[in-house]
Each structure stands twice: as structure tokens, then as C-alpha cells.
Subunit: 332 residues, 2 copies
């Protein structure tokens, strides 16, 4: 019998198809890599091919926009939103529109053209987390911006358009709907119980154990109870914190370790799947919220999103989260 | 400058990327067809390969589960939800679960193995609409079921797993979140203005004209102001009606004509794109609602949904809806 499960934060129901339950080997399909022309604009020595860098980690003290960097952040050459311009909002009869003010940046995660993020060593991974953190802190100073989403598209089906490993940051002049729903769900729970729902969820998951994949001093990695996707995972901070900008040095290292660990597990179990991850920060101007809690969602792109999902908001997950967690926990 | 646009019903913002504006020819990529082994279970003469039919249109008076049908509805062999069993709902600490009771049916749209839905003649298309309608009316009698979603996945990237043209119906024991959000948005508007938001939207679109693609006596086809996807379209009933079950005979024909017309336009303009469509009915047990209005959403699958969309609920649309409507209006 299939089972319906409800996400306790946003209230989304998911169909967990126990009978069709798939195994990791069902997903090890051949993936087409993203386009990889020579002349990669993210390679060292080609810094002039990108817009001027806004942040870089340069252990050798080299000059901006020259080789020597280990992590480099540049504006996207084809930005979805633009930093310049006034934020204007107006109606058009029944409709609302706004100028597309915002920021769209690319975090080049390594100078090495052929490494995946999961291949970086711990120090390299920590540099990536630091770059995200610095950019979020910096963009929070712009009063036009309300939210900064850090995310990664890895592989062609996940939306990557270049092979060279990179993540992205898009800052928007409004709080995105998905984040609003998480905040609203957190607030409903807070109003009822006066506790953070993510903190409660962590306590229950840790005690139960069936969906836990890994833990370190600062973060817990688990398969969400109402996972939408096969082998979806989530990393939650043990401490009630809202955003990247609040991470202590030890927590930044903890996040780098947790994310690197789960990407390596996924890489081994599913043979380098295409994937997305999204860093769920609190809004930029919201201050600390009692009812919102920093987390990272990681989704291998193994299942197709079809008409049912688009029309209903319901998802069908062919791998029960308990099975996904067991596979990911036990992979060597 | 990109523009942010808000969907007036569900409140979702979309980034319309005017500068990156793509043309139809940018999307005419080579598509991989769905798997097509010989021995298709949907071909006439192989009726025994599917579960027993629950509905069929048989102009020649032939017996159930034999050839002679022109449209045939059967339970899915690998259903996401099952008709048998009690609807049990219970908590598990912070979580909620429910038994996966529901229905999952396949509407085989034509006996011809190689026809696409857009290739059917008007009479054939009307039979498909009649089959949907009958099944929704029938399933509405089961008090365990709260919603019936009719949808189609056409092509491999849209989630089709068989070549033979078919649509699907999934009936669920709860109203899906996406529908709830549409209903909630419609109610907010009704509370404020005491008018249906879809009726108002239709009036504005018809007067404006830039996003209208086609009209007939009963339905209007347009490109939504805050389209999420390139060349997304929507078909809305002129009359304020809630679901398939309320269609008059003339309206059923009007829907068949409108949907066939827009699929044919899309087929020509984008060279047989993969696509999904979803029929948005009112809930099964809700009666007529002042603030909910029947419509069909059609989405060619030309853009990849990546981490930004998943993390934010924001979409980036590279084709302004006014341009999409013009292309679709003018295609011969």
C-alpha cells in the first residue's frame, strides 16, 4: 500500500510508493555531461572572460582578476536580475510587476577544470562556504534586496550550462514564495507550541534514527520524512540559527564537512548523479527569527517531474526515505 | 531590464528575462522519443495486457476489453494510489501520514499507436474530453476522494513512459496543495472584491489582447501574464464553471476545440515539443464555488527547472508572454 506523508513545515503531501520501491541501481543511468567547449571562462588565466570579480580567496596574495585564486566570485554574464536601477513596483489592472533589480553571481568553486565539488578536499570546500557567507553578508547591506539564495546545479539535467564546478547566488527584491511558505509554516507551529519546528524535528529524527545519514558536532544530515525526490537529503544546523551569516568558524567547517560528506555518499551510491542543492537562509532583513532555522536541501535529479506534480504540487517518491537513509548511511 | 511579474491567483513571482528573450527556433531541439517496445499494451487486440476497462467509447457496440473502442480508460498497472482499503490518517510525533487510497487511471486516447493527441480529429478529441468528464463524475461518488486531477505527459522529458498517446487521472484523498493555493487566492480576491478573479482576469485579457492566442464561443486561450515556462498557455472557460462535470455538450466541444487548437499551434511552432497539461477542476465535494473557475494549463517542457526554481519557487522565463502569444497566434 502506498503511503501519503505530509511535510510538517510547508504542509505539502507526498506519495511514498513502497510497492514500486526502487533501489539505487535502478538510477545509475548514463548521464550526458554539460557542454564543455575548450576556452572555459572559469579556468585560471581566463579571468578577463568574466565580469570583474566581487570576491576571491587568494592565498598567494595575487591581484584581483589574475590567476592565483582558489575560490572566485563573479557576476553572472547573463544575469537573471540586475544590480543597477531603481526598484519600481506598480500595478497593471489585476496584475503586479516590479523592475528586475537584484544580483546574480557565480561562485567558481575551484581553479581545477575537471573536479566536482564533492572531489574538493576539506579546506577547498570550506573556502566555498566562506565565499557564500561573505557574499550573503555583503549583499544584505543593500536595502533593496530581501533575500539571497545560494544554490548549485550540477550536471545537465539539473540545469548546469558549464562543466567547470560552480554554485550560484541570486538575490531578489522580494522574499520568494517557497521561503515565505516555510516561514509561515514555522510561525504557525511557533504560535501553537512556542517552539521552533526545525528544532523539534531534529529532536524527533535524532531519537528515531531511521532517517539519519550522518552527524557531526554542528550539523545533522537526514532524509526528510516527506521527501519529494528519490534520495533527497537535508542538512540542518544543531544550533537554532537563521542564515549563513551567523555561522561561527567551527560551524562553517561543520557545514563544509556535512555537505562534502553527503555529496560524496551520493556520488558513490548513485554513480555521480546530477543534483541540485539549495541553501535555505532566513530573509536578509528579518533579523533572527524564533521560527526559522537554517538548512540545506540536496536533491539528486533521478526522477522526472511530470504533469501530476506540476498540477497538484504532490510528488511521487519511489524510494521510501528510511530506505534512502539506510543506503546512504551504509555506503562506504 | 528583466521584469518581475506576480501571478494574481497564487501570488507566485516570475522573472521575465526580456534581454535574453529567446525565439521559437532556439527551442527546436532534437527530442528523444519515449520507450516504444513492440507489444504495446494500449494497442487494440492487446486489451488483456491492461487491467479491465472502467470506461470506453465503442461506436460499434463491441464487448468490453475487446477491440472496437475509440477511447478506453483502464486502471494504471503500477498505480501511485490504490482504490482498495480504508482511509486511515494518523500522526507520528511531529509528522502526519495517511494510507495511499485513491485512483490512478489511464485514458488511452486513440487506438492508433502512432498518433499524437494533436493529430486526432475533432470527434476523436471530443471523445477524450468525454472520457475525462465521465471518470471525474464517477469518481466524485466515492466519499473518500476529494480531488481528481486529469493530466497528460507527452514525450520523454515530460515524463511519458510509453509512446502510445494517453492521458492520466489521479484521484486523491486530500485536495492537493497547488489547488488549495489557487482556491485560497481566489477566496482572498472574492473577500476583497466579491468577484471571481478568473472572470476579472479574462475581462482584462480580452480587452488588452496582447496575450490572447485564440478564442471560441466557450473558451479563451492566452499566455498567462506571469507564465513560468516559455510558451506556457492557459485555456479558461468563458462561463464561471468549476469542473469538467459541469460542462454542457457545447462547452465540451468548445474545450476539445480549444485544446486541440493550442496543441496544434505548439506542435507547429516548436516542432512537436514535449509537454504537460493539467486540467484544474474544483474539488470533488466542494459544490460550486464563487471563487474557483475551471481552466487548463499547458506547458511545453523546453526550459530546465534548476536549483533556483526549486529553492525559491521563483521561475525564470526567457520568453515574454506577449511574444509567446504573438508567435502562437500567428503560426499557420
Amino acid at each position: 500500500m502506498p503511503e501519503l506523508r505530509k511535510d510538517p513545515v510547508v504542509g505539502r503531501w507526498v506519495i511514498v510508493a513502497f510497492e514500486r520501491a526502487a533501489r539505487p541501481s535502478d538510477f545509475r543511468t548514463k548521464r550526458e555531461p554539460p557542454p564543455d567547449p575548450g576556452n572555459c571562462p572559469f579556468d585560471p588565466g581566463r579571468e578577463a572572460m568574466t565580469p570583474s570579480e566581487v570576491f576571491a580567496i587568494r592565498p598567494d596574495g595575487s591581484l584581483p582578476n589574475t590567476p592565483g585564486w582558489v575560490t572566485r566570485v563573479v557576476p553572472n554574464r547573463f544575469p537573471a536580475l540586475r544590480v543597477e536601477g531603481e526598484l519600481e513596483r506598480r500595478g497593471e489592472g489585476i496584475y503586479d510587476r516590479m523592475t528586475g533589480v537584484g544580483a546574480h553571481e557565480v561562485i567558481i568553486e575551484t581553479p581545477e577544470h575537471n573536479l566536482d565539488l564533492a572531489d574538493l578536499d576539506e579546506a577547498g570546500f570550506l573556502n566555498v562556504v566562506r565565499a557564500w557567507t561573505q557574499r550573503v553578508i555583503d549583499l544584505a547591506r543593500d536595502p533593496r534586496l530581501k533575500y539571497a539564495l545560494v544554490f548549485k546545479n550540477s550536471g545537465r539535467t539539473a540545469g548546469a550550462s558549464l562543466r567547470h564546478s560552480h554554485s550560484q547566488l541570486i538575490a531578489t527584491p522580494i522574499v520568494p514564495q517557497q521561503v515565505k511558505e516555510e516561514i509561515a509554516g514555522g510561525r504557525r507551529y511557533w504560535d501553537f507550541r512556542e517552539r521552533c519546528i526545525f528544532c523539534d524535528l531534529l529532536a524527533q529524527e535524532t531519537q528515531d534514527g531511521r532517517r539519519i545519514i550522518a552527524e557531526n558536532d554542528h550539523f545533522i544530515t537526514y532524509a526528510p520524512y516527506a521527501s519529494r525526490f528519490a534520495f533527497e537529503t537535508c542538512i540542518v544546523a544543531r544550533r537554532h540559527l537563521g542564515s549563513l551569516g551567523e555561522l561561527s568558524d567551527a560551524e562553517a567547517l561543520g557545514l563544509a564537512r556535512a555537505l562534502r560528506d553527503v555529496l560524496q555518499r551520493m556520488t558513490k551510491l548513485l554513480d555521480r548523479p546530477d543534483y541540485n542543492f539549495m541553501v535555505h537562509n532566513a530573509p536578509l532583513d528579518g533579523g533572527q527569527l524564533n521560527h526559522y532555522h537554517f538548512h540545506v536541501e540536496i536533491m539528486p535529479r533521478e526522477t522526472t517531474i511530470a504533469g501530476f506534480e506540476w498540477g497538484s504540487g504532490f510528488f511521487i517518491n519511489p524510494v521510501p526515505p528510511e530506505a534512502a537513509a539506510k543506503y546512504l548511511r551504509e555506503v562506504v
